[in-house]
Symmetry: C2
Subunit: 137 residues, 2 copies
DNA sequence: CAGTATCCTTGCGGATACTG
DNA sequence: CAGTATCCGCAAGGATACTG
């Protein structure tokens, strides 16, 4: 994929995002970029069907509230299926949909690259912050 | 790329994101997912070097403040170079760095997919919202 | 022209307590 | 167990006016 291909793609995408789709774009990326969304998608991708609490146990730090909210959003976008067995006590299982799986596929290269280049960013920031500190001093 | 490959990748990525990198991950995606970041990256990718106001003109709706802020963040992460000519009146040009270009490459497939599947999401949401409305009624 | 300063609204994310 | 209700702090994003 050379530079021109990239730009053409990029052009198409950004043209397709005019006005109306802006909300969609933001919302979608918001979900993908949410505090917990990626973790949930990943967890469900790896383990398949899981119950609410099981997901929570596999992601440290998430509260019940945020987990529920995240799952609702993902479900609303059709990325996750919710199977309610309507039993007592409640039993609900979550599962990544095909759409969710496709999203995961598209996300992974990006995340991989970010992680692999973590140091680059850290260094860039250090340099920037140092220079900025000098300016202020 | 089959399901297992995806999951392995995904596993690696998410393992690499434990604790410390969480901030990094969020910040980076925050930049990539910001209201204006992608637009700026794309614009600079397509047009090359541009002045502050030129970028603004090519992106409708962005305010001076947000454009400046976005550019600062991108610059801090090393995604964008800032060339200050130190003239009067001021003349500053912005340019996508190689790192920024690489990010653009990784983002494009994701965006393309989102845009191509916009309808899918819209429909999923409509269904969800309708069902939820019924529940409340 | 590029950028800062100020003020404001909104929604995310978290803590805690409660319910069917 | 799964989920809701309530309250809170914080930062993003925006509108507006000003400056070197």
């Amino acid at each position: 994929m050379d530079r021109n291909e990239i730009l053409q793609y990029s052009q198409t995408v950004c043209d397709g995002l005019r006005d109306d789709d802006d909300g969609l774009r933001r919302e979608l990326l918001a979900h993908a970029g949410n505090r917990w969304s990626l973790g949930v998608i990943h967890t469900l991708g790896v383990y398949g069907r899981l119950r609410h609490a099981e997901i929570g146990r596999r992601m440290h730090g998430v509260t019940q509230r945020m987990l529920t909210r995240t799952l609702r959003q993902l479900e609303r976008d059709g990325l996750v299926f919710r199977h309610d067995f309507e039993e007592v006590p409640p039993r609900v299982e979550y599962e990544l949909s095909d759409t969710g799986m496709e999203l995961l596929v598209r996300m992974v290269p990006l995340w991989t690259w970010i992680v692999e280049n973590a140091d680059r960013f850290r260094q860039a920031r250090e340099v920037f912050d140092r220079q900025h500190a000098d300016t202020n001093a």
